[in-house]
């Protein structure tokens, strides 16, 4: 069994923490795992993707290629569309409904696509739209969108809830553990 999860978002949204958490869970479950992430320039508000590859057997490449991802977990609408090519046929998308305007849209050079849902649906019918921003607000911290989304994703995986919460305790700064656990559960219970 192998699961390729591509996490897409905007630099600063915490895609990296999400991938590290998934990696930690994979290890707890005794699986092989490779992750690939973006540091540097693009983290300054640009498009970022992190790759999470989990498998029962050895994994060669640390990156997910076009048409390979079982799951696309996107923290923003436009970024989901940008990363759609990674998704395999009939793969699953979890997407935060939030729209963050990129600079070419802010300056008026381009417009934010209106038909993202339709275009995503051309790739797959398995899409979950999540209002992660509202849930993060409810949890008490707008920076927990990433854990809300992981919560939503967790519903489709066999991993016990305890393992997730332990991973949060391990990977998140102590002061933010509680709010992230709350955000995770809000995402999980939708």
């Amino acid at each position: 069994m192998k699961t390729d999860i591509l996490i897409a978002g905007v630099g600063g949204q915490g895609t990296l923490l999400a991938s590290v958490l998934l990696g930690d869970i994979a290890i707890t479950e005794g699986k092989e795992v490779k992750l690939s992430e973006v540091h540097g320039m693009a983290q300054r508000g640009g498009s970022v993707v992190t790759h999470v590859r989990i498998s029962d057997g050895p994994i060669a490449s640390p990156v997910i290629d076009n048409g390979q991802a079982d799951i696309l977990l996107s923290f923003e609408m436009l970024e989901a569309l940008r990363s759609l090519p990674f998704l395999k046929k009939d793969g699953m998308i979890f997407v935060n409904e939030q729209k963050i305007m990129p600079m070419p849209v802010i300056t008026g050079a381009r417009s934010y696509p209106e038909d993202i849902r339709e275009r995503l649906e051309q790739g797959t019918k398995n899409i979950k739209y999540i209002d992660a921003a509202s849930l993060a607000r409810e949890a008490g911290n707008m920076r927990t969108i990433n854990t809300v989304m992981l919560g939503a994703l967790s519903g489709s995986m066999d991993t016990p809830v305890d393992t997730w919460l332990k991973a949060i305790e391990k990977c998140v700064k102590p002061a933010f553990v509680d709010v992230n656990k709350k955000a995770f559960m809000l995402g999980r219970n939708i």
């Binding site: 990696g23 992430e37 320039m41 300054r44 640009g46 490449s61 940008r82 305007m101 300056t107």
Partner: protein, 574 residues
């Protein structure tokens, strides 16, 4: 114990286990985290040097003095360190010396896509290339053994994908390596012509010996499978090969210079058709072809960008890839953060339409719309020297609208000598040092102006004003970039003067500034004139009813309220 580790963390782990005592580096994506992780080990003395040349020279010094030492940098950093690198191979080592250099195929965070293997060849220094986190750790340990066995520095070539991916690593314990004995060895270490002539001969012999031995190194290994296709590959490209052409026989090179000729010949003669898969330049390919062996490489591949499994599948015809495209959608380029102090500077430069020689750092983003003010970006330090050249070409009149912009870390890296040149050769340009008290772009490393060292301990902070004056600049002033009026006045006055001047724009990076500020919001007074949109702040968007400031993004810098002609943007209590 098995641990999941970032490639760069695994390099640091390898250094720790190898008993490394000293690391001197300059940050640069994708190499930075090696030194940062290493700084977490009490047993390793880790320092940020002002630039890569100083870093490597420091490591050479420690190696000569008997301590296992390392220096880490990005590919273009090795250009800066090239001078000591080339002669370090003449001098050899005392205790082991390893340089880790990280290439960036795909230019994720760099100004070019150069291939560092040319340096290994040019300097006659063995080069290893790991392919995952496990090998990142292992190869550092191996590199130190080779370094001491053959009396040579060893380069390890990493890249963005390797450094920034995570995999499982078996972490071991540290092997303490006592200081090697130090004694004067003039003929070996003082590279005057007579000694150098001899050292060059030693170097040639050494490389030939390593080349001979390398065919039996276990880091160069053959994995036989179907013999119809044989692929020679190395580094991360090996992983793509394993996935895209799983049935092929593979010669995986752990050492990419010098190449194991015997092993290559053996492999070539046992497969029907030979291919070379290497990212960037056709270096293995050219060497193999020069041995008189027929092979296919860049004929079906490319010297451009990063490889992938799909790219190889296409080249080898081993699988069809199906996916849905995203269509034509707006790009999302990186941007200056909300609250970034660089924004105030560029607002002024953009408004007054200056010619701006730029440099490398977060402030290079001032080239992008809507600020669109940076004219050039070449390499670290070039802003200042290029301004001097521009003035030579177009005269003093042109210099009245000419500004060189450089960050604090970049100024200390290689801007100081450029400034000295402007002083010495009579430039009248204006230089702006954007002092945000950190090395922002690479993830907030300290530098000689921040008052802290690589381990976070207090360190002397150079006073930039004093330094600039000492270099010989008479007109020096310091402005806060959020004081827009003051900034505009300073820039206008200094550029107008027919004399070299330096403006230090000082305000800490928004990501390290801990002062809590009130946020700003727009009101019904907004007439949607679009003035605030010229700031290119990602927190501000325009709607039909006027602009909206995203409260979760706003950092309270207040620039928008200062540029609003209608007083429509005000502070809100937080």
């Amino acid at each position: 114990m098995k641990k999941i580790m970032l490639g760069n963390e695994a390099f640091a782990q390898g250094a720790y286990e190898a008993g490394v005592g000293f690391i001197s580096s300059y940050p640069g994506t994708p190499s930075t985290e090696i030194s940062e992780y290493a700084a977490g080990f009490d047993e390793i003395d880790v320092q940020w040097a002002p630039n890569e040349k100083v870093a490597l020279e420091s490591a050479v010094g420690a190696s000569v003095a008997g301590m296992r030492s390392m220096s880490c940098m990005k590919h273009v950093g090795l250009n800066v360190a090239a001078d000591p690198l080339f002669t370090s191979s003449y001098i050899g080592v005392n205790a082991g010396l390893v340089v880790i250099v990280a290439d960036d195929p795909g230019c994720y965070s760099s100004q070019n896509e150069q291939d560092s293997r040319y340096y290994a060849m040019a300097a006659g220094i063995p080069m290893l290339e790991p392919s995952d986190s496990t090998e990142a750790r292992d190869f550092v340990i191996r590199a130190f053994e080779l370094s001491e066995k053959y009396d040579t520095p060893v380069i390890i070539r990493s890249n963005t994908r390797l450094g920034h991916s995570r995999g499982l690593v078996e972490a071991g314990t540290r092997k303490e390596v006592p200081l090697f004995e130090y004694k004067k060895e003039m003929a070996k270490r003082v590279m005057m012509p007579a000694m150098a002539v001899n050292a060059h001969k030693v170097l040639e012999k050494r490389i030939n010996t390593i080349k001979e031995d390398s065919s039996s190194f276990d880091i160069n290994r053959i994995e036989y499978a179907d013999r119809k296709i044989g692929i020679i590959t190395s580094g991360v490209a090996y992983q793509y090969v394993k996935e895209a052409v799983p049935d092929a026989s593979v010669l995986k090179l752990g050492m990419v210079y010098p190449l194991p000729e015997k092993l290559i010949r053996e492999f070539a003669s046992s497969v029907e058709k030979l291919y070379i898969v290497e990212e960037l330049e056709p270096i293995i390919e050219n060497a193999v072809k020069a041995m008189g062996i027929g092979a296919v490489g860049k004929e079906i591949l490319t010297i451009q960008g990063e490889y992938s499994t799909n790219l190889l599948k296409k080249a080898f015809g081993t699988g069809k890839v199906e996916f849905t495209g995203s269509g034509d959608i707006p790009q999302r380029p990186p941007i200056m953060c909300p609250g970034c102090p660089h924004r105030g500077v560029y607002y002024v430069l953009s408004k007054n339409r200056y010619t701006v020689t730029g440099d490398i750092g977060c402030y290079t983003l001032g080239a992008l719309a809507p600020l669109s003010s940076v004219d050039t970006c070449l390499c670290m330090g070039a802003s200042i020297s290029m301004a001097g050249g521009m003035e030579k070409a177009r005269g003093k009149e042109f210099a009245r609208k000419l500004v060189a912009v450089i960050g604090d870390s970049t100024f200390l890296h290689s801007g100081m000598t450029g400034l000295l040149n402007l002083v010495y050769n009579g430039s009248t340009a204006t230089v702006m040092i954007l002092d945000n008290s950190t090395t922002g772009m690479t993830g907030h490393q300290d530098n000689p102006a921040t008052g802290k060292d690589a381990k976070g301990n207090p360190a002397p902070a150079v006073d930039l004003e004093t330094l600039v004056r000492a270099i010989g600049v008479k007109r020096v002033r310091t402005v806060d970039p959020f004081d827009l009026e003051g900034m505009e006045k300073a820039v206008k006055e200094e550029t107008a003067k027919e004399e070299l001047s330096v403006i230090i724009s000082r305000h800490p990076c928004a990501l390290i500034d801990r002062t809590r500020k009130n946020k700003y919001a727009s009101s019904e007074k907004c007439r949607n004139c679009g003035m605030c949109m010229k700031l290119g702040c990602p927190a501000i968007t325009r709607t039909e009813k006027g602009v909206v400031i995203d409260q979760s993004m706003c950092q309270g810098c207040g620039l928008c309220s200062k540029v609003c002609p209608f007083g429509a943007i005000g502070e809100v209590e937080r």
